[in-house]
């Protein structure tokens, strides 16, 4: 048995706006083993992105616990939380928006390294390595986000996430804004990283075909609740719940 990397227990998030409240995530539990890839699928508004934000502590959960390598990170803050981010990184949906438009890509990718106290010279070297690893050339370090295409920008975003050598990547619709040809390239890159670096993934995506190609296990979400879990083939071929069936039948 491999070790359990990430564990979520009875996660719940309620958003309050004035007098009304919205339960975005309702009692969601799951665990992720090392080297495993967990896909989360569902319609918009089903709470997928909220889960990603809870896991990365960008949002405070209303209830529940998150454990990373057995350590409770639900209420960590400051220095301790920063050390968590060396194990866990996130790739966002809009690559161009997740970079500072006024700084070069190299600056964004190397920021985490400089924060760790690594010298500028060494950071520069590492950034070049990372860019090459993600299928770009070292010259990209000097470019600005608006100068490159969406696919290239997403590669740079992956390079940035990999800078600190994380164990876990959380991808929130990382390929959704991209064209199919580029999407395929990014997916190939992620698969390569998964094998080379033994990375684990939480892969949030609304495209079932993509999840089937990439993930070991799937969580189907509907209105904040987990509808079904299982291997992609199991869920796609033998959906147990009515909602899952509708979802699968809608894929063209």
């Amino acid at each position: 048995m491999t070790e359990i990397l990430l564990e979520a227990e009875h996660l719940k998030k309620i958003f309050l706006s004035g007098k009304t409240s919205l339960t975005a995530v309702d009692d969601v539990s799951f665990s992720l083993r090392e080297g495993e890839c967990l896909g989360i699928v569902g319609e918009s508004g089903s709470g997928k992105s909220t889960i990603a934000r809870l896991l990365t502590r960008l949002l405070e959960p209303t209830e529940g616990k998150i454990r990373l390598l057995g350590e409770d990170i639900t209420h960590m803050s400051g220095k301790k939380l920063r050390s968590v981010y060396q194990k866990m990184q996130m790739v966002f949906q809009m690559p161009a928006e997740s970079f500072d438009p006024r700084r070069t890509l190299g600056n964004g990718i190397g920021e985490s390294l400089r924060n760790m106290g690594i010298s500028r010279k060494e950071t520069g070297k590492k950034v070049e390595e990372l860019l090459v690893l993600c299928g770009l050339t070292p010259e990209y370090a000097g470019r600005y986000p608006h100068e490159i295409s969406g696919g290239e920008c997403q590669r740079a975003a992956i390079a940035r996430a990999l800078a600190v050598d994380p164990l876990l990547l959380i991808c929130d619709e990382a390929t959704s804004a991209l064209d199919v040809t580029v999407q395929k390239q990014i997916l190939e890159l992620l698969t390569e990283l998964k094998e080379k670096k033994k990375l684990s993934f939480v892969f949030i995506c609304h495209d079932l075909a993509l999840v089937q190609r990439f993930c070991d296990r799937v969580l189907v979400m509907h209105q904040g609740k987990v509808e079904e879990t299982g291997t992609p083939d199991e869920i796609i071929n033998h959906p147990k719940r009515e909602y899952t069936k509708i979802l699968i039948d809608s894929v063209l």
Binding site: V180, I236, L252
Partner: protein, 267 residues
């Protein structure tokens, strides 16, 4: 037979720069043409050229577009306006953005109709309600009395389709009509569009980057890449038997669900 719409070697320039080059296609009555390609390949520009919505900077510099035998590229604006709506309808990618945010949906639908025919508000509402029920908007009365932000994305999209279809155009231009929608809603909208064609014989141009959607709806497919026409032909040919390397690459990038069920996609 004279085709409903014919584009001949159309080249469109924005500020003197060609964006679409040498695109030709034909559309018969009741036919659906799917225009696919990556973002920035000029799909939407083709659509805008047909509709005459290129704006001040855009210009059809070469080639002609014929609608029912009339050349629309050099038609005076006044005459074109008469075509837009009763003859050619358009559904935008984000219908919520296409509607005015501070006015109720029903009033806006009435305004569209009143532009082209003499009609009372009550009559416009009655017709809108009838069509809405047909395309799966149950609570028509409430919807007509709502603001766009009070309705979901899928509802807004269906209002866009409804508004375009109310004047019963012969040609419907749909620019990514389902891209902003969830798969379950997308399927319903798709079925509604197909139903419109069955009932009214509407021809459609469907611009989309979703090849699954194009293959499910279109009779013919036009593949575009950086403003040029890569491939054009019957859906089955383009999807499965094309010799064009770009088309092949594009089709191979599309991921299909692997299902064991019989009678599903022939892929």
């Amino acid at each position: 037979m004279e085709p409903l719409l014919r584009a001949e070697n159309v080249t469109v320039c924005y500020n003197g720069k060609p964006v679409v080059e040498d695109v030709s296609f034909e559309l018969q009555k009741g036919e659906i043409l799917g225009v696919v390609g990556e973002s920035g390949s000029g799909k939407s520009t083709v659509m805008k050229a047909v509709m005459g919505l290129l704006g001040r900077d855009g210009l059809v510099t070469r080639g002609d577009i014929y609608y029912k035998g009339n050349n629309v590229t050099d038609m005076p604006e006044k005459k074109r306006r008469k075509l837009r709506g009763p003859e050619m309808g358009m559904v935008f990618q984000d219908c919520r953005a296409a509607l005015c945010p501070i006015r109720k949906v029903g009033v806006q639908i009435y305004e569209c109709l009143a532009e082209h025919e003499k009609i009372t508000k009550a009559e416009a509402f009655r017709r809108a309600e009838f069509l809405m029920k047909k395309i799966g908007l149950e609570d028509a009365e409430r919807i007509l009395n709502s603001y766009p932000f009070e309705l979901s994305g899928g509802m807004n999209q269906r209002i866009g389709i409804c508004t375009a279809m109310l004047m019963n155009p012969s040609l419907l231009l749909a620019d990514e009509p389902t891209s902003a929608l969830d798969v379950t809603v997308q399927k319903r909208v798709m079925e509604e569009l197909l139903q419109m064609r069955r009932e009214y014989g509407t021809a459609m141009i469907l611009v989309t980057h979703n090849i699954g959607l194009a293959s499910a709806m279109a009779d013919q497919i036009l593949v575009m890449k950086s403003g040029k026409m890569m491939d054009y032909g019957p859906t089955d040919y383009v999807l499965h038997h094309s010799d064009n390397p770009y088309t092949r690459n594009l089709m191979n990038s599309v991921m299909h669900l692997n299902r064991v069920k019989v009678g599903e996609d022939d892929d």
